[in-house]
Symmetry: C2
């Protein structure tokens, strides 16, 4: 008998197998499995026992067809195949890591949709929502005025964004307090005596790039100084960009004495540039980096960072999406993280400051 049921379960058991095995109808089986109160406790137990014995697992496609749900949680992932940009998006592993952890144990599978440009991302988001390719969506790289947020918020499709746009819309999101972080880094360098401070930043269409400039400017203003806005470089956040922009900035008549780098990729490029210029971090130039994959400690020398493990944000993204899909109100599903300052350098050039600033 045991062998019989094992043989029968060769091709995985369906609700019909359970029906045949228990004598109940498939409708009753379904209700018992879903925990409907109309079925007797005794019946449910018998069905659950049979399900366990046969190793029954509900067929996701059958459920999906009937309920209209997909049991998929989609993530938009930037694809950058261009040579020299291989570092771009290294943090995505950690984002997916976090989301995957959050989804673990839920009924949802994680599916990844690549995109190659912002326009592409919008098109993919629209397709996912229109065709109901998933029950919810997560994406990052939010613009100041982001069409995805506008579109999805209006259509009511569940989504959580990593980053906030600058429109007064209500939507679930997770973000880093970039204004605060840029302010903290800049203020620290100003306190160390720096006046010519560079900000190696993202392109200004990105919301977080603007946030960082805001914080950068505020730090100067609070110190009663004019911000060195001519030293704000905007670009893709590749290692190459970090290197090139650092070289360019250091070539100016009044070069920066300190750098604020907004991710680890640009930091690596900046350090590479400083190295090839023969400048030593902590002596000739100070660097403060933003770090989300805990890599700055291994640079030589280790640099001061604002550290916020992005995997934590990923986990929260996943949590929020699950809660959103379960019907929770998007307005309550928002969180902004403040990174932690990890001081590894004095940030005052060991006191030798003042050469460029009388």
């Amino acid at each position: 008998m045991a062998e019989g049921s094992i043989a029968a379960s060769r091709l995985s058991p369906t609700i019909k197998t359970l029906a045949a095995h228990t004598g109940y109808s498939i409708g009753t089986i379904s209700k018992a499995l879903r925990g409907s109160p109309v079925v007797t406790e005794q019946t449910r137990e018998a069905i659950l026992a049979a399900a366990k014995e046969l190793g029954y697992q509900a067929n996701a496609r059958g459920m999906a067809l009937r309920t209209g749900k997909t049991y998929q949680a989609a993530v938009l992932m930037p694809l950058t195949a261009a040579a020299g940009y291989e570092w771009d998006g290294v943090e995505y592993t950690q984002i997916l890591n976090g989301i995957s952890q959050a989804l673990d144990g839920s009924d949802y599978q994680l599916s990844v949709h690549g995109y190659r440009s912002y326009e592409d991302a919008c098109a993919v988001a629209r397709r996912v929502a229109d065709q109901k390719l998933s029950d919810g969506l997560i994406f990052s790289g939010v613009l100041a005025d982001d069409a995805r947020i506008a579109m999805l918020a209006q259509s009511g499709f569940p989504f959580v964004s990593l980053g906030r746009c600058r429109k007064p819309l209500t939507y679930a999101h997770v973000d880093v307090d970039n204004e605060w972080a840029a302010h903290a880094a800049t203020a620290r360098l100003i306190a160390g005596g720096h006046r010519r401070i560079a900000l190696i930043n993202a392109e200004q269409r990105f919301s977080y790039a603007l946030d960082r400039i805001d914080g950068f400017v505020r730090a100067f203003r609070e110190a009663g100084l004019e911000p060195s806005l001519d030293l704000v470089a905007g670009g893709d956040l590749s290692t190459r960009f970090g290197r090139d922009s650092t070289l360019t900035l250091r070539g100016l008549p009044q070069p920066p004495t300190a750098l604020v780098c907004v991710n680890e990729s640009t930091t690596l490029g900046a350090l590479s540039a400083l190295g090839s210029l023969g400048l030593r971090v902590g002596e000739d130039v100070d660097v403060i980096a933003y770090d989300d994959i805990n890599v700055s400690a291994y640079f030589s020398p280790p640099v001061t960072t604002l550290y916020q493990p992005i995997e934590v944000l990923g986990r929260r993204l996943g949590e929020f999406l699950l809660r959103l899909m379960a019907g929770e109100d998007a307005a309550r599903l928002t969180e902004v993280f403040r990174p932690q300052l990890i001081a590894r350098q004095a940030d005052n050039l060991g006191g030798r400051l003042g050469r460029h600033n009388p």
Copy 2:
């Protein structure tokens, strides 16, 4: 009339909508859409036109239920949430990138399944295959004797592995010629005069770790030398491991004068360790790194690497999986890539070698 059809397509059109619109039966519609030869060219055209007009997109769940296919391509992704290991798996973004590119335009969606240990990976692989959660599977981190390969090859479930096991099985795979790469790096250092060479390697249960030791040993043997096997360190490939093992090795009575690092993460750790020991790359110690995300050029100083963009492997993984799922023979779907040597250092300590080797 136009407004009517647009209004009707509010909730996406199904095959029934097309039937009503064209007057044909749903069976004929289906056949026309699938390109069956039994339907008249004229009919097909009419149906295709209607499909286009209404913006018809086949419902994946309906197809999946009927055909038993899932239209999902699954990837197993290692999750390492432990602090200090955030760099672990940075290359996964590029792997997913490549796979995603390959899948682009196909009917398959990319789904990601996380795992936390080898045992977990086996369990997930089994679940994916048993429950038909996807039509095919891609995974990496292959062991010398890998249960996933054995299991999947036997069951006939389509899969492509990134890496080869050491059992004589037939299965689709993509790999780097690790034996060749380790040999190339080691031979180059030997030619530079080095005799005490360290290999910062993965744990020896991994197939590629053994491959690298093979190449390492072969280089010594070909030079008529005894391999410095006491300088082979095995561990997780984290930055921390790279740092710690370098510190340990350099503390030996006869420390290595050169390091071969098997990925960029360990390289960063090793360079960090050398920096804090006050040793300069290219003067006190030579380093050759294996690099798959093109980052070594930005280290200070840039190190010589064996470069193989992993995104290319990812793309091939995706291609192979598609072809496998289309029925192609696994035996023909294998490719081994030889990385490119990018010389950025002399690798002979600028000639000052010989101190440790009389």
